[in-house]
C-alpha cells in the first residue's frame, strides 16, 4: 500500500501535530515502512478467525454503581492555566 504525503499531512492535522517539511518527509518514509509490515500481515489468511479487540484474553471487570470520588476541584484546578468561578477557561471556541 502506498501513502501520499498529503495523507500524512491530513493525519498530522487531525492529530493537531505541526510538522515541518523535513519532518513530513521522514514521517512519510517511516509510515510507509509500517505499511509494508501491515501488507505482510494482511497476506495471512484470517478467514473464520474472529477479530482481536484486545491482546489479553480476558473480559472487562466492572464495579458497582457507587460514588467513590469527593470534590477535589481546587487541587485539580491549581494546575489549570486559567480558571474563573470554578470553570476552566480556554481560548474562545467558535464554530
Amino acid at each position: 500500500m502506498t501513502l501520499s504525503i498529503k495523507k500524512v499531512q491530513e493525519t498530522a492535522y487531525l492529530a493537531r501535530i505541526a510538522m515541518s517539511e523535513e519532518e513530513l518527509n521522514r514521517c512519510h518514509h517511516e509510515i510507509e515502512q509500517i505499511f509494508t509490515l501491515i501488507d505482510q500481515l494482511q497476506a495471512v489468511d484470517t478467514q473464520g478467525i474472529p477479530p482481536l479487540a484486545h491482546p489479553q484474553a480476558s473480559q472487562q471487570r466492572t464495579v458497582p454503581d457507587e460514588v467513590t470520588e469527593s470534590d477535589q476541584h481546587e487541587k485539580f484546578q491549581a494546575l489549570a492555566p486559567a480558571k474563573q468561578l470554578d470553570y476552566y477557561l480556554v481560548p474562545q471556541v467558535i464554530e
Binding site: F76, Y87, V93
Partner: protein
C-alpha cells in the same frame, strides 16, 4: 460550508418552497405562510403544474438517553445534575496521566433492560472504542463509545401516531458511551468556560432505522421512546436537563424513489415541539433546494428555535474523520446468558402491555388507556387512586385525565408534584360513588383539597357538604317551594314543561347544592304532577 445558506438567501421567489411544503402537507407550510403571503395564487398553481412529482421525507433519529446511575460510566464521580461547576470531575474524567477507566456495572443492566424491552439482539460481547476529536470539553481528546460492536443490536419499537396509526419502527442499534463536558461561550469575555461535571456521564445512544416519514411520526416515536425509558427506570426523562436529547437525520426523495437522498443532521433539539418544527423546516428547505435544481450538502445543522430555522453548523466533508479504534484501556465487555435472564426477570410491565391491560381489565377505551400510559407516573397515580376508591375505573380515569390534569397544567406542575395524592383523590371519588356528595360538590371539594391538602371527608364534614338524601326533608322543601310559587306551578301543570328546570334550580338553591340531583328529579316529577 455555507452553500445552503447562500441558496436560502438568494431565493427571492419562494413559490417552489411554498408549493413543496404544501405538497408534503407538513406543518412547515403553516409556519412559513406569513412569509409567503405576498405570493399570488396563480403563481402557486403554475408551479404546482410545472413540477409533477411528490416528495417524501425520510427521517432517522439518534437519541441520547442519559442513564440514571449514581456514578459515571468509567469513574466513581457523581453523575448527578446541577452541582457546582467541576465539583464532580475526578482525575479519570479529567484525563490525568496514569488513570484507567473501570466500567460501572449498572449501565450493563440498564442497556440490557432497554434491549429486552424492544426485543433487540443483545450482544454477549461488545467492545468500547475511541472516537478521536479535539474539543475543550473533551479532556482525553477522544470519547469512549461503542462503534463496530454495540451492546444492543436490532430491535423494534411499537409506536402509535397521534392520528391512531400503528407503526413498528426498527431500532438499528443502541450503544453505551460517555458524555462530554459543557462549554459556556458567553459568560467570560474572550474566553470559553468549561464545566466537566458532565464529562463521563453514561449515555445510551439509541439509533432508529430511517423509517419515519414525517415530523409527526418522528415525534410519536420520540414520545414512545421517552415513555419507555422512564418505565424502565433507566433515565429520569428530564428534557430540560438534557437527559433525553435527539439528533435527527433528515432527507427527502421523490416518492417511489428507492434511493435515499443526501441527509442533513439536525443536532440536539431537546423538546418534542422543537423536534417537529426543526424537521418540518428542514424538509421544506431541502425540497426548495432540489426543486430549484440544487443539491443537498451532507452536513450538521443546528436548530434555532427563536427564528424557527436550521443553520449549517460544520461541514462533515473532511473534519470528521474520527479514527475509531478499540480502546486498549478496556477489555471486551461480556454479558452472560444468565445475566440477561436475570435482567429479563425484573423487566417491568411495558407501556404497550399496560395499555392493553387497562383496556381489558378496566374496560377503558383505547384513547383513555393511551393517555394514561403515556406517562408512567400518571398511570401509577391512576392505579393507586383506583385501588383506594369505590368509584369505577372510568370515573377515576376521567378525574385523573380531566380535573386533575387540567389543574396541574394550569399550575405548571407535573403529576409527581400534585398537591392531591392518589389516595386522597380515591377518597374523594368514594364519597361521590357513595352518593355522599354530588358531582358538582365533588369539584368544589376537589379545589379545596388542592388548596389545603386536607382529605375529602374532613372538608365535607366541616363545611356540611353532605348530599341531602333524606327524602322526607326534601319533600318538605319541595312542598314549601310549590306553595311559594303558585303561578309557576299552575303554568307547569297546564303544560309548560320547561318550568321543571326552574323548580330544580329552586330546590338546589334552597339546599345549597346538597340535594341529590337524581332524588330531586324523581320527587319533583311526582309532586309537580299533583
Amino acid at each position: 460550508m455555507n452553500i445552503p445558506i447562500t441558496l436560502e438567501a438568494t431565493n427571492n421567489t419562494p413559490t417552489a418552497f411554498q408549493v413543496a411544503t404544501r405538497r408534503v402537507r407538513s406543518r412547515a407550510a403553516e409556519c412559513t405562510d406569513g412569509y409567503m403571503s405576498s405570493e399570488t395564487s396563480t403563481q402557486q398553481s403554475r408551479s404546482l403544474k410545472g413540477e409533477g412529482c411528490e416528495w417524501e421525507s425520510v427521517i432517522g433519529l439518534e437519541v441520547h438517553v442519559q442513564l440514571a446511575t449514581k456514578a459515571k460510566l468509567f469513574s466513581g464521580a457523581s453523575a448527578q445534575y446541577g452541582a457546582k461547576p467541576n465539583s464532580q470531575a475526578c482525575a479519570v474524567d479529567l484525563a490525568f496521566p496514569g488513570v484507567l477507566p473501570v466500567l460501572n456495572r449498572e449501565v450493563l443492566t440498564m442497556a440490557v433492560r432497554f434491549g429486552l424491552s424492544v426485543n433487540a439482539h443483545i450482544a454477549q460481547r461488545s467492545i468500547f472504542a475511541r472516537k478521536n476529536y479535539f474539543y475543550p470539553d473533551l479532556p482525553k481528546g477522544y470519547q469512549i463509545t461503542q462503534f463496530e460492536h454495540p451492546i444492543i443490536g436490532r430491535g423494534t419499537l411499537p409506536v402509535i401516531t397521534e392520528d391512531g396509526r400503528n407503526l413498528s419502527i426498527g431500532i438499528t442499534r443502541a450503544h453505551l458511551e460517555e458524555d462530554a463536558g459543557k462549554s459556556l461561550h458567553d459568560a467570560f469575555n474572550t474566553m470559553t468556560g468549561v464545566d466537566l461535571n458532565r464529562a463521563g456521564v453514561p449515555l445510551l445512544e439509541i439509533v432508529s432505522e430511517p423509517e419515519l416519514r414525517s415530523a409527526a411520526e418522528a415525534v410519536a416515536y420520540l414520545k414512545t421512546l421517552h415513555a419507555l425509558v422512564c418505565y424502565l427506570q433507566i433515565c429520569d426523562g428530564n428534557l430540560q436537563e438534557g437527559s433525553f436529547r435527539c439528533d435527527a437525520n433528515v432527507s427527502v426523495r421523490k416518492k417511489g424513489d428507492p434511493q435515499f437522498g443526501t441527509r442533513a443532521e439536525i443536532k440536539n433539539v431537546n423538546s418534542f415541539r422543537f423536534v417537529e418544527r426543526a424537521i418540518d423546516y428542514e424538509i421544506a428547505r431541502q425540497i426548495q433546494i432540489l426543486e430549484q435544481g440544487g443539491t443537498i450538502v451532507q452536513e450538521t445543522r443546528l436548530y434555532d428555535s427563536v427564528k424557527n430555522e436550521t443553520r449549517s453548523m460544520r461541514s462533515k466533508e473532511n473534519a470528521n474523520d474520527y479514527r475509531y479504534f478499540p480502546d486498549p484501556d478496556l477489555l471486551p465487555v461480556e454479558v452472560s446468558h444468565a445475566f440477561i435472564e436475570e435482567v429479563a426477570a425484573t423487566l417491568p410491565e411495558l407501556p404497550w402491555q399496560k395499555r392493553l391491560r387497562l383496556q381489558q381489565e378496566y374496560a377503558l377505551s383505547e384513547y383513555d388507556a393511551n393517555v394514561l400510559t403515556s406517562n408512567k407516573t400518571l398511570c401509577d397515580f391512576f392505579e393507586e387512586a383506583l385501588a383506594h376508591t369505590k368509584a369505577s375505573a372510568k370515573i377515576t380515569a376521567n378525574w385523573v385525565m380531566g380535573e386533575l390534569s387540567a389543574l396541574l397544567n394550569k399550575n405548571n406542575l407535573s403529576i409527581e408534584q400534585s398537591p392531591i395524592s392518589a389516595r386522597a383523590l380515591g377518597g374523594l371519588l368514594s364519597q361521590l360513588a357513595d352518593n355522599i356528595i354530588s358531582g358538582k360538590i365533588a369539584k368544589t371539594v376537589f379545589e379545596k383539597m388542592w388548596a389545603s391538602g386536607e382529605e375529602a371527608v374532613v372538608i365535607i364534614e366541616r363545611e356540611g357538604l353532605v348530599q341531602e338524601n333524606d327524602s322526607a326533608a326534601l319533600e318538605k322543601v319541595i312542598d314549601e317551594l310549590m306553595l311559594a310559587n303558585p303561578s309557576q306551578l299552575a303554568e307547569y301543570r297546564s303544560g309548560k314543561d320547561r318550568l321543571f328546570g326552574y323548580f330544580v334550580g329552586l330546590v338546589m338553591k334552597q339546599t345549597a347544592g346538597k340535594a341529590n340531583p337524581a332524588q330531586v328529579n324523581a320527587l319533583l316529577k311526582k309532586k309537580l304532577k299533583g
